[in-house]
């Protein structure tokens, strides 16, 4: 046994213990799900605290919401008053200034489409929300980022706060916000601001930290006082990074403004999608989704244009263009100019055509659906022991089948373990999970394995976080939804990482494919999460599979990006050396480039998991049985405690997964 390292021996013991638990679980149901005897009425207790506290905060909430609502109403009125050709021209001029002629043409076309489809007032309402939420988030984010930069002691706490803010699903804290602000745009805006602050803080800290020391020293030697050093040297030098922050904050804000439409009452484009989806009007929801995508791409390109800008002269047409927009605004009669119902009628006609298409293509998609449901989802959910039934796979779990499974598993563990102990142990765990299915894995085993993994990877802090989250989920009766979340997320990550990494490898090898793929992944990454539900819902109806498709669509971009980047930035001298040694392209990829790109690939996997988890709550809208659904249900019941608890568990899962993947391999 001398050739086993200490951690390998530890994991081997854990494997044996887990296997024992799996076997015992067949006799002792108490091992299967978290025992109901141990649950406590936590959410009621939490409600008893939260409700009075946030209701006590209501006067502050009222004050804040009047402070927000006055400028919101002003912007909204302004956008509603301005005749749409004037607004389009003005925005096109902004695009011209930020990104040049091509962007200006895109702005004209995109906004023209929005107006012609009859979504203009709703789009402007959404824009008004963004225009209020972005400056607030940017201002607060910049202040917090500067604080983190200037006061190193505040930094660790701040970063943890940011992680929590970004991973805690917004629906989860929406209820307390509703308690505080009352129903109305203010609560949604507050949620949107909370959600979109973190990227600004991170970029501010990054930009300020990375100001070269020579710049700081030269400013000090030129006699800069602390304030001058900050505002005249650090901030301008960090400006490109700050603008990246503004870009990301804008996109996060737009995404959230649209999701928050779920609380209703603002007649914006998010509400339009939601009501169209509820009424199963495919054309309308697709049209509104297109409007969201166009607005998102436009906002993204404009803010990114400002981020990439160096000092320079304004384009020639800018002045005349802005003047023309102003003249148009003053001369034209505002609302009267809006196109009539033609666009909407056209979209309704699209409905029928789409229904036809869906019916016609149903067999094709049914094949896909069945393949993934029976091949991947059911085995992961029910496990081999559950799926091997006449109903699912067409054969029963007889004694010979069970014995074969055990023999194959043991054989695999020994065969692989002899060559490399890690592979044997990994295969063993895979065989166990595949037997029980993820949600059915014995709960003490989950505690045990998570405990060991987090302790070794992140020490006491991470261990406490993971154990706390598991205990919280168990005690509040959310064990099953939590395991369902992990299962759904795992399946989605598996699929999107497989697809994304393959595409990334191809893109790294072929410049043409890369150029083809880039605008697609750009657009996918720009789209607010909400939009992914529309095509998934259209093709697959309500259900877990639809949620899976939406999550995969959203989470497929990070692996493409990171794998391609990692492979492309493999050091040229090393690949040349390998080619010179006579490596075939295949060997080059597997033995040189991929190992070199390991860090990047792992980061890609990390980002895939984060994306999948953040999409989980949105995907719950189309019907799942996991934590996201619990959050959503809590929202519809205005049960603040339940929403907070489910949200906290999701956030904790995300944080633990993130830290585990970032830690160096044991």
């Amino acid at each position: 046994m001398a050739r086993f390292s200490r951690s390998e021996r530890l994991w081997a013991v854990l494997l044996a213990v887990s296997a024992l638990m799996v076997v015992l679980a067949h006799q002792m149901p108490v091992l299967r799900g978290f025992p109901t005897a141990l649950t406590l009425p936590l959410s009621e207790a939490l409600n008893a605290v939260i409700t009075p506290v946030f209701e006590a905060l209501r006067p502050i909430g009222r004050l804040l919401s009047t402070m927000i609502e006055a400028p919101l109403a002003a912007i909204r009125a302004g956008l509603a008053w301005a005749p749409w050709p004037a607004t389009v021209l003005g925005l096109a001029m902004l695009a011209l200034y930020a990104g040049g002629r091509r962007l200006a043409v895109f702005a004209l076309l995109a906004l023209g489409v929005v107006a012609l489809m009859g979504y203009w007032p709703k789009a402007m309402n959404t824009l008004a929300l963004v225009l209020i939420s972005v400056p607030l988030a940017v201002g607060i984010g910049f202040a917090l980022g500067a604080l983190g930069h200037l006061v190193p002691k505040a930094r660790a706490g701040l970063i943890f706060l940011l992680d929590v803010m970004q991973t805690w699903p917004a629906f989860g804290y929406l209820i307390p916000l509703l308690l505080m602000f009352g129903f109305g745009p203010a609560a949604g805006l507050a949620a949107s601001v909370i959600f979109s602050i973190p990227p600004m803080v991170r970029n501010t800290m990054l930009g300020l930290d990375e100001v070269p020391p020579a710049i700081v020293e030269s400013a000090l030697m030129a006699g800069a006082r602390p304030g001058q050093l900050f505002w005249q040297a650090k901030v301008p030098v960090a400006m490109p990074q700050l603008m990246v922050g503004v870009n990301q904050t804008t996109m996060a804000s737009l995404s959230m403004v649209i999701i928050i439409a779920i609380i209703g009452g603002f007649n914006d484009i998010g509400w339009e999608v939601l009501s169209a989806m509820r009424a199963a009007e495919l054309g309308r929801s697709l049209g509104a989704g297109l409007v969201i995508v166009l607005i998102a791409v436009l906002l993204d390109r404009i803010t990114r244009g400002f981020a990439g800008r160096r000092r320079g002269v304004a384009p020639r047409w800018l002045g005349p263009g802005l003047m023309a927009a102003l003249v148009l605004a003053l001369l034209l009669p505002g609302e009267a100019l809006l196109p009539d119902e033609e666009g909407q009628r056209w979209l309704r006609r699209l409905d029928a055509w789409l229904l036809g298409f869906v019916a016609w293509s149903a067999p094709v998609f049914a094949v896909l659906r069945n393949a993934i449901t029976y091949g991947v989802m059911l085995p992961m959910r029910l496990g081999f022991s559950g799926a091997a039934s006449p109903m699912v796979w067409g054969f029963a779990l007889s004694a010979p089948v069970t014995l074969t499974y055990i023999a194959v598993s043991l054989g695999g563990v020994v065969a692989l373990g002899c060559r490399a102990p890690w592979r044997g142990i990994g295969f063993g765990f895979a065989a166990l999970v595949f037997w029980t299915g993820l949600p059915g894995f014995p709960w003490p085993g989950v505690f045990l394995l998570m405990g060991f993994a987090t302790w070794r990877a992140g020490g006491a802090g991470l261990f406490a976080l993971a154990m706390g989250a598991l205990l919280l989920a168990g005690v509040s009766g959310l064990w099953q939804p939590m395991m369902q979340s992990i299962y759904l997320c795992a399946v989605a990550v598996l699929i999107s990482f497989a697809i994304g990494a393959t595409l990334g490898v191809i893109a790294a090898e072929s410049d043409r494919f890369s150029a083809l793929l880039r605008p697609v992944s750009d657009t996918l990454q720009t789209m607010p999460q909400f939009v992914f539900l529309i095509p998934a819902l259209m093709l697959f109806r309500v259900g877990e599979f639809t949620a899976l498709i939406a999550i995969v669509l959203y989470a497929v971009v990070p692996p493409i990006r990171y794998v391609e980047h990692g492979l492309r930035s493999a050091r040229a001298d090393l690949t040349e050396a390998a080619v010179q040694m006579g490596a075939t392209p295949w060997q080059l990829l597997w033995q040189v480039k991929l190992p070199l790109a390991r860090g990047s690939v792992r980061l890609g996997l990390n980002q895939t998991i984060m994306a999948a988890l953040s999409m989980l709550v949105i995907a719950a809208l189309v019907g799942t049985r996991e934590l996201g659904q619990q959050v959503y249900v809590a929202l519809s019941r205005a049960d603040a405690g339940a929403g907070l608890i489910a949200g906290a568990v999701i956030a904790a899962i995300a944080l633990v997964a993130d830290r585990l993947l970032r830690a160096p391999v044991a």
Partner: protein, 342 residues
């Protein structure tokens, strides 16, 4: 106490990096044994970046601090300009204790009396050449018109007037450093720090910039502290050189002192690469005596005498210094060392 002609003076200066550097210097009344303390600091996980530095910089001289990377020369110059706080020792600038001045006073001193040039230029990427040069004046609160006039004059001084509207990214390395030099000179400082100003430049440009630097110094007569890792550069530019190794100054002297009388093997290994005939000057070897014939300039390099030596001259009178001569034997002894050591 400090004499009129000394601009900057430091005594037993220490700068230590590590978990608790202050702990080792709470010893009022004790004399610090530098060797012992350096050993102890290293053992206990600290880095003595500057250990026991003691020297004076005279008004109008070019004082070069030279050492390899990690020798502590950059840290030392940052202590002298108070970009870093010192742990222990006395640092006097024009008779004031610089280690005790308040932040506001320090800013004032930097604004009026100090200028610094950086290896990586330290130009603001968002400002034009002119705005970069004018920045120190802007920070002082000077109005736009006078500060731009002054900045233009500075750019003319470094022969970059034609590029005043260029952003740093549009300038070559040499041009960027000219902007850096112009900026550091804009407030007309008395003490001029140059931290490896030419190390990031190509060898040809470097040589050119050194000549230009000497031309500027002849015109401006600043007190200069110049950091370099290049012994040739040090010998070309310095009035005096301080050589650093592992945080300690191991020798201070004129280039000739360092080259001809190295303090230890480390210094000797450094100077072995230098062609002495291109670094030693007539005045370094001059001795009392009398001679006939055309005189030689005291700052002439030995290699300029080769033709005369070949024709068999034995003695050279030194120009402007009656009673001083240069013996051919002394020159030949140096040339022999070049031949043997090379």
């Amino acid at each position: 106490m400090v004499s009129e002609s000394i601009m900057l003076s430091c005594r037993a200066l220490w700068k230590v990096f590590g978990p608790r550097p202050g702990y080792y210097f709470d010893t009022s009344g004790y004399r610090i044994d530098p060797e012992a303390l350096v050993t102890r600091l290293r053992q206990e996980g600290h880095i003595p970046a500057v250990a026991d530095a003691t020297f004076d910089v005279r008004k109008g001289e070019i004082f070069v601090i030279m050492g390899l990377s990690g020798s502590g020369k950059s840290t030392l110059v940052r202590c002298l300009s108070r970009l870093l706080d010192i742990e222990h020792g006395v640092l006097e600038f024009e008779g004031r204790d610089l280690s005790r001045v308040s932040g506001r006073e320090l800013t004032e001193i930097r604004r009026r009396k100090m200028g610094m040039v950086f290896q990586s230029f330290g130009l603001m990427p968002h400002l034009t050449a002119l705005e970069n040069v004018a920045l120190p004046l802007k920070l002082q609160g000077m109005a736009r018109a006078p500060r731009e006039a002054r900045a233009r004059k500075m750019l003319e001084l470094v022969e970059l007037a034609s590029r005043e509207d260029a952003l740093p990214a549009q300038l070559s390395g040499g041009q960027q450093q000219r902007v850096g030099i112009a900026r550091s000179l804009a407030p007309d400082p008395e003490l001029w720090f140059l931290d490896e100003p030419f190390s990031a430049l190509d060898p040809l440009i470097r040589r050119q910039m050194q000549d230009e630097f000497l031309r500027l110094q002849r015109q401006l007569k600043k007190t200069i502290i110049f950091i370099t890792h290049d012994i040739m550069e040090a010998c070309r530019l310095a009035d005096r050189i301080a050589l650093m190794q592992g945080g300690r100054i191991i020798q201070i002297g004129t280039p000739a002192d360092i080259l001809l009388k190295p303090a230890d093997d480390y210094v000797a290994s450094f100077t072995a690469e230098v062609a002495l005939s291109r670094a030693i000057r007539v005045r370094d070897l001059a001795q009392p005596g009398a001679a006939e014939g055309p005189p030689v300039a005291p700052e002439a390099l030995l290699e300029t005498l080769l033709a005369d030596l070949a024709s068999g001259r034995q003695r050279f009178p030194v120009q402007g210094q009656p009673g001083q001569v240069l013996e051919a034997d002394a020159v030949l002894a140096v040339l022999r060392r070049d031949a043997g050591g090379g």
